[in-house]
Symmetry: C2
Subunit: 226 residues, 2 copies
Amino acid sequence: MEKIDDDDLKQQLMTQCHFESLFGPKLAQHAELLHFKTQEYIVENGIQPEYLFYLVKGKAKLYDSLANGKDTLIDFFTPPCFIGEMELLDAQSEPFSVQVIDDCYCLALPVRKYRSQLLSDPTFLQNVCIYLSHKNARNIKTASRNQGFTLSQRLAAFILLTAHNGYYNEKHTQVAEYLGVSYRHLLFVIADFVKAGYLQKDQRGYQIADQKALQRLAWEVNSSDN
Amino acid sequence: MEKIDDDDLKQQLMTQCHFESLFGPKLAQHAELLHFKTQEYIVENGIQPEYLFYLVKGKAKLYDSLANGKDTLIDFFTPPCFIGEMELLDAQSEPFSVQVIDDCYCLALPVRKYRSQLLSDPTFLQNVCIYLSHKNARNIKTASRNQGFTLSQRLAAFILLTAHNGYYNEKHTQVAEYLGVSYRHLLFVIADFVKAGYLQKDQRGYQIADQKALQRLAWEVNSSDN
DNA sequence: CACTAAGTATGAGAAATCTCACACTAGGAG
DNA sequence: CTCCTAGTGTGAGATTTCTCATACTTAGTG
């Protein structure tokens, strides 16, 4: 983590994501601009963060680490979003890990200094409430899908969701984590899709060869959305 | 659902769970006392509730219903807790089902009338924030356990958690839902426990016969807690 | 009393998923 | 250039979990 002392950049980012409107008067201006490199931890498992972060650029992921060494990927963070709000609200809580996927820029408020001010700021509280409730709803959806549908179904939905120009090109390791299955099993199901003619592999990656078949598989997953 | 017009009872329940301290001045007194019978829905899948509920007595469960007909049990509600706060915060959201397990009494504020007042009440907002973030943390823990551990491990932990006087006596159907596996599989694993001598069945239910073995199995699950 | 719904119980076979082992490739670091 | 790491890909076998079918018990209801 490094602090970036570029007020112009900071101002620009603040404007871009309407940072000031998240707080009551005069609070936003105390934010610092921080930068995190890929693989770095924004919040580390079990360690109380020093800041309340607001991700404005980059991409990160939320993990839960289990005692048996397994990690479960809970959610992705994409801008704009809060990070570390749980720990701000409840200093007792056990922080989950937040790890950077693509370089991240965060506007960050020092917790120690502004905690009490934040906790009595209705604008901020209302925004966090809404943010938390959306996040929770998303987590619930993801978790229940992981339980209720088979990998083929979820993968089909995921491929359709993330494909560009008819090509599917995601890192298998990350996808396996996200879909909550072993790497091996993911590869196995992808191989099935190729065998079944749903996908075709070439130099550029996996090409969608039978969109309708994938849609049929994904249908139930997606229609649980509303 | 039925409304209970018993001001004494209402007052008593309000005092018991410190209902008034959840809100700014004069808001709490507008709450009505509602009663729900077993199996009834407090919030129904996809239908915006008319109230913000605060469960003061009883027990209920939160479901997500998938398009393939499966239900995933997300969480239990035990008093005291909010119900319907997500829908209050964001009228667009898709409500999940909340179904009563044991008869429930709720203090309830009509959304239509008090929504804007609630959304600008810092005391209320702060309480909801903390509530939401705890709930979310619990959901994450449950979900990642369901993924990261085998049923034997989770069941062992669950048995130790819910046993009274050396006896395990929960409804298999509900437990299967909670642990996110099929009823059949749960019975299968319980049978295994009996075969292995961890449990013994008699008239009163399942008796814990080898606590140490169960603790060994549950160890990893529980030590992910902190 | 007969009927129904919910809970309990068990069998058999299939499907989904995991672990471990091994091999290959591409890119960055020294 | 060589080493190392991350990502990719495949095989074999074991484990976990699911579906379907079927049966018995119990409490509640008309």
